[in-house]
Symmetry: D2
Subunit: 282 residues, 4 copies
């Protein structure tokens, strides 16, 4: 377990300026755990994401824990907390650019598959929504690439990404995520949240009706259409989907922290000088 400050620390808070790494079962460490939103019983069709992905969240308490000195990275250097946090966030947000691009790519593929199975893939409003989602994914991706390309080597030898771009990519992709959820629900339609359960589909008595009336495009098995609907449900209408939204919003830093860093990293003085030169201000 890697323990770090998560924000700027002031001199009078120096007792909290600590960083270290210890095994998670060290004596005195208490984990109050929250399991991921997996289904209680295994499913065949439902919960295709939450059956495989997700992680345990913990409230971790340090109740008189001994940390050997060789495992301590920071102990009281309060003025180094801010740079440590910013460097950590910068690198984490760079990885999030790729992470969010991939997550949205999967949402786009899901939305396009749904549209294909509903036989509306060429409808202009569907293409509009897919293009909006692609914009978010590619902006996240391009910001990550640029954070890397425009980065610098730190004297320690570690490579530091360009902080403005890592923050732009993470912030932008996250800020569009609510819209992405809406688009999935919209393209899936009512059945995303009204479709009966897989138990009913595999029960011959009810399944025959579902087979007949939930059919989409000619040539696509009803089961395939149901599988995509259940994937959209897991993305947008499950504990897992909500947890993923939370993760996307607040992990690697809250949206406002990213906006502050974007403004801070932008060389405003230089742009003001250009504006002055154009305006004729000496």
């Amino acid at each position: 377990m890697l323990v770090l400050p998560t924000r700027d620390i002031r001199e009078n808070e120096r007792d909290y300026a600590v960083a270290f790494a210890i095994p998670i079962d060290t004596k005195g460490v208490i984990h109050i755990c929250r399991p991921p939103g997996v289904p209680r019983e295994p499913r065949k069709i439902e919960r295709p994401l939450s059956s495989k992905f997700g992680h345990v969240e913990c409230l971790v308490i340090f109740d008189d824990v001994f940390v050997p000195w060789e495992r301590v990275f920071m102990c009281g250097e309060w003025d180094l907390a801010a740079p440590m946090v910013l460097n950590f966030a910068n690198i984490h947000r760079t990885t999030k650019c790729g992470c969010k691009a991939g997550q949205i790519d999967l949402m786009i593929g899901t939305a396009a598959l749904m549209a294909e199975y509903n036989d509306v893939e060429r409808a202009a409003h569907i293409q509009y929504k897919l293009t909006e989602m692609i914009l978010a994914a590619e902006i996240a991706f391009a910001s990550g690439v640029t954070a890397a390309v425009q980065g610098n080597k730190h004297p320690s030898g570690v490579f530091i990404p360009s902080a403005i771009h890592s923050n732009v990519g993470k912030f932008y992709a996250s800020s569009k995520l609510g819209e992405d959820y809406l688009f999935l629900q919209d393209i899936g339609g009512g059945p995303v949240v009204t479709l009966p359960a897989e138990k009913d589909f595999f029960n011959p008595e009810t399944g025959k009706w579902m087979e007949k009336y939930l059919k989409g495009k000619e040539g696509v098995p009803t089961e395939h259409r149901i599988r995509v609907l259940k994937l959209i449900e897991d993305f947008t209408a499950s504990e897992f989907g909500g947890w993923l939204m939370g993760l996307s919003t607040n992990a690697a830093g809250a949206p406002m922290a990213e906006r502050i860093e974007i403004l801070r990293q932008y060389d405003m003085r230089k742009r003001k000088e250009i504006a002055k030169a154009i305006a004729g201000i000496a």
Copy 2:
């Protein structure tokens, strides 16, 4: 059970141009039901919404059902399906203006309470987000009021709202809902999806740590802060929250159906004539 066409019907589909009302237990009617996302065991703090609200969704099959003639409103009048659907949607969307305003009002109150308990209610970015949510709620409300005020009495005696405003209000509020979910997650922060369960809070061994470390603003009991976090979780990170998003998006008609109706209801000819007059086109 009231049965209506849900879209325009063409002459060669006239067998589907039927409308009628029958008891839900009529012989031959089969309901394949999907229960609401209520928790399996009663909760004290968690799931404050989904423990009380939600409804059973059904796929309803008519397997050789007899409908007495006096219960039939439409039988083959295919050319009346479109006006029936549009009138129904118009009235339903008008009620949705108030419904969405109320739903967002509750989300705003929840967000503001969370901000108060986190002691950040005066932060400019919190106020920005609250104001954005208020804009959506009040635009929905104002559209509903105007749909009523600008409506007309139908020759049948029924009052018909102004369709452009009912559609504007429903569409706009729904289109902002993804952002509202993000704002709630953002204002609640990480604990929305990482907070341990109420069982851990009421367990003295773990609860004492939660009591101590999850404390927010001075004077606010930790339990109250946890209650608001659990309310945000239920809104944005539960089956119920996802169902509510689906309901808000697709019930009373899909977003694209509303946009089409908005454009169709707008008197474009009149506005083109004004533009022609200004441009000097005789």
Copy 3:
């Protein structure tokens, strides 16, 4: 000339807490005027808006002006400045709801006429843009109607609109105006800012080429197409168009002033109480 405070006034600024009405040519009143962006020479086709509309803006100086006592409405009542400003803004913003709706209506009519003459009126992306503009116009209109309907009679007998709705309508319509300008430019295309002058069109030597190559849809005279392009130019690429954007943004109060008022007028306490009740907080 009606003179009013434009903001809250504190006790130590009470000398500025004055309101009165005087003729504009009163001795000591100096007007430093800025003429509207009218064309220097009359035009036949170009500048259809700025040839007829616009007003003189003034910096007005009061250099030792005598105001008779019977023309004075406020003199030192500093604590009444804020309510006076808010009431004035509320009423002004209500009128702006109708004003912005009308302005956007004209922009929509212009855009639709342009699309018709370019023979792309049925293209889905054109209809998307028109619908977005209609949303802004109708939200402004509905907010104005609701501000009136939900208003109250002041003890003085004056009718006071509902401030939250007047502010919502003015703010929202203004905030979309930049997009409206872009949509007009987009639908008009390159010729909005590259089309030769009307002098070239009426010169037979150059006009014959313009007549031939600037033709749009079959049956629409080239001159009509040019007239609409020149109308879009006047809206979006002229001094007048820029002045209109400024007027829409800042007249009746700046956007931030409106947001502050929206948050202030919203009954947050009531919504927090509802959230508390749902969350089980006594």
Copy 4:
């Protein structure tokens, strides 16, 4: 003069599938010119952009022009028009990523300077607006960098940027430009379009009042504040500003052309396959 097809050409239009380069004064070439929006008389303070920048737009007619064979690049190869246009657009849009980033950088510097001179630079809503503008500039920049980094060498030896990123950057920055104009007007306030002319400022009789009453932040000469206001006016409320909006919207291709290309370039098949794998569709 370089002449190219600007769109896909079909077989029955093959006479238009031509590309060539000739001197602009070749016999038979007629230019119907439109001068840039420069002020008629030189200015000291006003029109700092349009006095120096802008270009002549032309409607160019080819009235029986001879093009020597060695200057012809395409003559009838109708099926090569589409790839030529797409490659040209791709490269042009990549340069536009840098161009728009630079243009918005200047707008940001101008906005920040205005805020400084108005002594509101630390206000949260000002910082919000600056950050929004930075997002647009850096997204354009990052898209351009990524278009280059992810490009490929064409067999001819020419380097071809990644088309999805060049289109994303150009589209996104352009789509935010209307908002950027609004933000400049908002931060400048009413004086952007109400300030008297420089002639009045340099006239001692009127200038003394302007000097006194248009003063901003302590320590900043009134003239400097006026210079920034006049720069904002030139950006947002002049022929030049409107032309620049048109250039940003339609030069290098219309917004819808960019959206089509973004969707076309995105490897949807691959993302559908991933979605299928997750959903369990063989």
